[in-house]
Structure formats: structure tokens, C-alpha cells
Symmetry: C2
Subunit: 158 residues, 2 copies
DNA sequence: CTCAATTAAATTGTGCACAATATAAGTCCG
DNA sequence: CGGACTTATATTGTGCACAATTTAATTGAG
């Protein structure tokens, strides 16, 4: 039996920070957010707000739930986020007449115009990188995200 | 010249959400945190607190800055986080006598004992997964994190 | 020795994330 | 119609992240 803090085989210690895949995601996500912040600040957007804009630039007038489904965020995150974005003038929130439970999110003129500015962002952030490599990684991670969405596919409980 | 929202080649639209590598990291990190939460709750830890414990289980008695360097977090995040963990009884914070600017973080007996419980966590979280594949991905991401740490290695500005 | 510069941590203020709960609108069955 | 049920969003409360600033201890040049 092993005593705490005296693992006889520390290199195989399952709790070593560097061995945790989850930590690599956590660290990368935080560091990426920090790199985007100053670039997006010039568009008067936070990183999360930028993601919402990406969703709305693809299709304007979606309701809160549809945006949340796309970004894997719930209303506890989105409602205040969208209110801040409305205050900033990027979009407007209005109850759906057809179904008063829903809130439709529509870009303002300035919100639509902001897309032109944002077109530079991906280029700025990937400058000097191997685009083939980044795209391969993106595909790999898209698969990981897909697997995580399902709460992880159990191993076919044999 | 392209008009906003009417890109003639939408499949090559650089702003499509699914094409953003950053979003895959963001989504994966959030989803992973959600999967860990219920498992770690049984240890009375949040995900961030778990990471701090991993660092301290490797080496007890580090100061705030050393922990922050390891996790890529600053004192604005760590100070309140460590105070909460002290309240929970996982660790104690005490000024270093040698250098009164420093605060040394030491595990309590229960904090050390918690490691035994935590040993199950990596196994629970990776159950049913291809461990070779996860380790390959971990290595790839470790490289990405390393690159991000340097604020990204400029392309040797030729 | 003294005071400017540096370093370590804490504080302040903003903006996410998320679980849990609440509110209210729509649906459906008898 | 009417009440159970479901769906869509909002609210509440906690805990991060992080930039910017502050406080206090240490270092170091003159």
C-alpha cells in the first residue's frame, strides 16, 4: 500500500499535472483567450461575445436556445451576456410574437458592420503558423468535442 | 468587394464557427470541466482547486507565484481560490519568515489524505477511452501550450 | 545608509460558466 | 375548458479568470 506523497514510481504517478489531458485543454483555452482579448478589444468584444457574433453572422435572428446549443452554453451564461451585448449596441433582444417564451436575437446595423472588422481576426491569430497543421488539429479536436457532447460514449458496457 | 452576410463562398468563410480552432479548445475545456465537476464534488473540490492540489501533491509548501506559474494563473485568480481552499481545510497559507512578501501554501493532513481519493479520478475520467490515443493527443496539446506560453513564437520575422 | 527600482501578493472591478431554481408561455389529454 | 406537463428564458448564488492597481517587503546603486 502506498503512502500519500511517497509514490514509489513518481514517473507513473497518474496524478502528475503534466500527464493530465484535461489540463492541456484548460491551459490552452485560457492562454488562447488571453491572446484574443487585446485583438477583440479593438472590436469592443470579449472572446465569448465574439463567439456569439460568429453564430449570428452565420444566421441572424436565432433565439437564445439555438445560440446556446451551438456554443454549448446555457441561459445562465447567455442571458446576461446577450444583455451586455445589447447595451453595447451589437444586437437587440425581442420576444417572439409567435411564441412569447422565445427571445429572438437580431444584429443591429453596427453589429452587422462589425463583421468586416472581424474578418482580419482569424488571419491575425494564425499568422506565422502552419495552417495545414492547425486544420488537422482542429479536425481532431472537433471529434473530441463531439465525443464530449454525448457525455462520452460509454464503452458499450459489456 | 463583399457585402456583410452575403459572402459568395460561405464554405471558405474564415469566420465560420466550426472552422475556429480556438472554439474547439473553448468548447472542449468547458465540456471537460462539466464532466469533472460531479466527480470532484465528492472530494469537495472544484476543477481549479483540483489542479492546485495536483501541483501541491507533487511538491508541498510552494508559494503562490510558483503555483501560478505552473497553472498559468495570476494572483487575481489564485489568492481568492487559495483562501477558499484554506476555509475548506485543504491547505494553510502562511507568510514566509525568510521573505515576508511570499506566502507559502502547505497541505493539511486532510489535504494530503485527499490524494488517496483523487487517485481514482484519472481512471474514472478516461474509462472506456483509448489511452494510447489520449496520450498522443496530450503530447500534441502540450506542444501547443508550450507555443502559446511564449505569446507564440513569431515566424522569425524575415 | 537611502531611496528608486524590483518583486510578491492582495485588491478591485468586470465578465464569464454553471447548477439550481423560478417564471411564464405553450401543449396535450380527458 | 382545465389542470398536468413540457419548453424557453430569466434569476440567484458561487466560483473562477484576468487586467489594472495597490501595498508592502527586498534589493541595489550611489
Amino acid at each position: 500500500m502506498r503512502t500519500p506523497l511517497n509514490d514509489p514510481a513518481p514517473c507513473e504517478d497518474p496524478l502528475r499535472l503534466d500527464r493530465q489531458l484535461c489540463f492541456q485543454f484548460y491551459a490552452a483555452s485560457n492562454l488562447i483567450g488571453r491572446l484574443y482579448a487585446p485583438v477583440l478589444a479593438r472590436l469592443n468584444l470579449t472572446y465569448s461575445q465574439y463567439l456569439v457574433m460568429l453564430v449570428l453572422w452565420e444566421e441572424d435572428g436565432q433565439n437564445v436556445g439555438a445560440i446556446g446549443k451551438r456554443l454549448h452554453l446555457d441561459t445562465g451564461t447567455l442571458t446576461p451576456l446577450l444583455k451586455r451585448m445589447e447595451t453595447l449596441g451589437h444586437l437587440v433582444r425581442q420576444r417572439d410574437r409567435e411564441d412569447e417564451r422565445r427571445v429572438r436575437i437580431s444584429l443591429t446595423a453596427s453589429g452587422k458592420a462589425l463583421r468586416e472588422e472581424a474578418l482580419h481576426v482569424p488571419e491575425i491569430m494564425t499568422r506565422g503558423q502552419d495552417l495545414e497543421e492547425l486544420d488537422g488539429l482542429r479536425r481532431t479536436l472537433a471529434g473530441v468535442v463531439e465525443a464530449l457532447k454525448g457525455g462520452r460514449p460509454r464503452p458499450d458496457r459489456a
